[in-house]
């Protein structure tokens, strides 16, 4: 038990040091713009389908599940407000981040882990390239920049899914649905959600890179790196979400 607690603090310290090193290296030239763009494409564009389809289904399900209760209370006209606010504030960012933790964080963990095991990271180092800058900084920046965009995309598809169901079941026009949603949303819904999406992206990239970069030797180590990256990133996402909601509550009195 004591060993586990000790290990937890060691891991927390190492991860913090890794994050500090990222900030230091990210601000120092030379900058790897080409690799950053490639990573943005890999992580952003290639996650669109998954995030889109998940968002669409979440929108459908949320509307479908809420409908009977709202009808019971005669409040079905509040559906766009309720779904809009819950998706923009919470469901959209968290579900998108969890999907990305599964797809991107584990992918980074496995990729960097296998590069470590096959000495490709060492080969970069001896060729005079800073592997931390080339591999880690670009990936963390890419996830930090791409996740808010993916969240917006996922939110829009979730709202579209909800609007489609309301249109089919309640005869509500798309225009009326979206007008109601956008009237219900305020600045205090969008700003905290956007800011926390950046942090979600940072966590996904950071944990994936940390686990992969310090992967233990052997192919088993690569599997462990990919697996623990998803678990750790998912846990940290909820922790960051909780902190973000508390801070948003202080500033905006949600």
């Amino acid at each position: 038990m004591i060993n586990r607690i000790k290990q937890f603090f060691i891991e927390t310290g190492d991860l913090s040091y890794f994050a500090a090193r990222f900030l230091r290296e990210a601000l120092k030239p030379p900058f790897e713009f080409k690799e950053l763009l490639r990573q943005c494409y890999q992580m952003g564009n290639r996650s669109l389908f998954l995030v889109g389809i998940t968002g669409f289904i979440i929108g459908l399900v949320l509307t479908l599940q809420s409908r009977p209760t709202l009808i019971q209370f005669g409040a079905v006209s509040w559906m766009p407000n309720m779904v809009g606010i819950s998706i923009v504030r919470e469901v959209g960012p968290v579900i998108t981040a969890l999907i990305c933790a599964g797809r991107i964080s584990s992918g980074i963990g496995a990729e960097l882990g296998s590069m470590r095991v096959t000495e490709q990271i060492d080969a970069m180092e001896v060729s005079g390239t800073n592997p931390f800058k080339y591999l880690v900084v670009t990936r963390i920046l890419a996830t930090t920049l791409m996740l808010p965009l993916l969240v917006v995309f996922g939110d829009l598809l979730a709202l579209f899914g909800s609007a489609l169901l309301e249109n089919l079941k309640g005869g509500v026009s798309f225009q009326l649905y979206f007008n109601t949603v956008f009237n219900a949303l305020s600045f205090s819904d969008l700003v905290p959600a956007t800011i926390k999406s950046f942090f979600f992206g940072f966590i996904i990239g950071l944990v994936g890179c940390y686990k992969g970069y310090y992967c233990k030797k052997g192919t088993a180590g690569v599997g462990v790196a990919a697996n623990t990256a998803v678990v750790m990133a998912s846990l940290l996402l909820f922790l960051v979400d909780f902190i973000a909601v508390i801070i948003a509550d202080i500033f905006y009195e949600l």
Partner: protein, 260 residues
Amino acid sequence: MENQDQMRPLIEELDARKLVIEIRDLRKSFGDNHVLNGFNLTLEEGGNLVIMGKSGSGKSVMIKCIVGLIAPDSGSVKILGQEINNLDRKAMDELRLDIGFLFQGSALYDSMTVRENLEFPMRRHKKKLGVNKDTDPLVLEALENVGLAHTIDLMPSELSGGMKRRVALARTLILKPKVILYDEPTSGLDPITSKEIIELMHSIQQKYGTSSLIITHDVDCARVISDRMILLVDGINYAEGTYSELSKSTDPKVEAFFKK
């Protein structure tokens, strides 16, 4: 006599200049596992030094200490006259331009083509190497040196083990290093491909006059390539000499390496 005393520092300096690698009293431990226990080594310009030792004897740790991939606990590592323990990252990266490293498993970047693999080491040093935007001639020259110009657009996964090793050697050569470190260059290869790699290493040494430090288990490789050998046992220099001297040794630990 007085003159000789005055000349001694100058003579020593001239001798030191000829050394491309000089390791003194290198020590490295991982927890309770003492891997290197005061290892010493000198490699002269144009020399071919082979280090032999059992698995786990510290050969790979030693070679990684030379290029700064592992920090030693104590001891001195001088490469081309520069003490690497005193170098910052920028200076170390510049020194690495003169050091080639062939990894045991080739370590080709598997998400890049052969061309991109060879271009990668040049990307930050084009000015210094006098290379303009078009790096193709250099890439082709390096690949031709290893007889694999036709693989330029292939991915590493499309190459055989021997081809990967040769492409890795081409990547090492592209920066025209003064010294090349080989970590088990023939391990995992069949005898015919091993022979081809050994011949290739020999021809590169002849063509470019590079100094080579080779870690190997392969006695044939040691016989063909080495002009001096060190046997590393329990983290120290157990025996030193030429191939013919060591192969005739009656010491059981030395004999064990040469038994077929």
